[in-house]
Amino acid sequence: MKRKMIDEKGRLFGKVSVVDLIAVVLVLGLAVMVYVRFFSGGDGSIKTEGDCDVTYTLLIKSVRQYTVDALKVGDELYNFEDDPIGEIAGIDAEPAVELNSTLTGQVVEMESEGRFDVRLTVKAKGRKLDDRYYLSDTFALEYYDTLPIKTKYVTTNGTIRSIDATEAGG
């Protein structure tokens, strides 16, 4: 006797309710999401597995002492998509210099009182793809790219001024 796959009561091979089956799959899916969110140590997003060590410098122009003080070696750095983009490995602050015109029609460098230009050295894990270094699935380092950056304590803008990379472990 040939048996229907789904009978008139909506049961698979006369045993399992299709609705129950769908509900079980949904609950299992939810359970996996809860596990990933709370117990796997991640935030649920897909991370790029880095295969090279990248060191890059960011130039932060003309900020006040408050910003300099809020930056600390060892702090994790993020872009504005909240991707982790490395750890601060060095901070070098010097009096800010900006270009201004004089009364005689020249453009000269002028030191700015109470302002600082900060060079941040950042170390990160990255992946090389098409001659670009990706620090996440979507974020690639590019020379002279000015980007909003933040740590847990401070937000500002920095321009990428150097990029060095070595293969991880090399």
Binding site: S17, E76, N100, T102
Partner: protein, 165 residues
């Protein structure tokens, strides 16, 4: 005891099948995890101190910012805690000194800047400090504040690391 359990199972069987029971158990576990999540350390509220710089007050208006006043974010209404101290200094503006070829901070006549220290409860994670669980604050951010005596906006210029570490 065994008979009792069998009895309960028989009674439950009238209303639920095995899948329903599995579903109920799984739903209960997920609900417990979600309800317990805020109790985990990452979501704990701690006391944080931060300083906001607000400028351009004339005729002593900066005195309307008072120690002890409760403060609220005037955009999304987050509780910004209590004002713990206020210090004032002349407002400065950057100007070019053509003689020395330097950019200097010059005082603006008649205007004052207030540095206001707040103490508030915040959710602290590895990535952010969120006052009242939702208002993320970092040095460099602009905030809008409402107190009983005055509304003002300014820059966050300091966040104490202490408990927020």
């Amino acid at each position: 005891m065994k008979e009792k359990i069998k009895g309960w199972a028989r009674k439950a069987g009238k209303y639920f099948n095995v899948f329903d029971l599995v579903l109920l158990a799984a739903a209960a576990v997920i609900a417990a995890v979600l309800l317990a999540a805020p109790l985990f350390k990452g979501d704990e509220m701690v006391t944080v101190r931060f300083t906001v710089e607000t400028s351009g007050y004339e005729n002593g208006d900066e005195k309307l910012i008072k120690v002890g006043d409760k403060a609220m974010d005037s955009i999304k209404k987050y509780d910004m805690g209590v004002i713990k101290s206020v210090s004032c200094e002349p407002t400065v503006r950057q100007v070019i000194d053509y003689d020395s070829a330097r950019v200097l901070n010059a005082e603006v006549p008649g205007q004052m800047t207030a540095l206001v220290v707040f103490e508030a409860k915040a959710k602290v994670t590895d990535m952010a400090i969120a006052v009242d669980g939702g208002l993320e604050l970092r040095v460099g951010d602009t905030v809008s504040v409402k107190t009983p005596g005055i509304s003002f906006s300014g820059y966050v210029v300091e966040i104490e690391r202490g408990e927020a570490q």
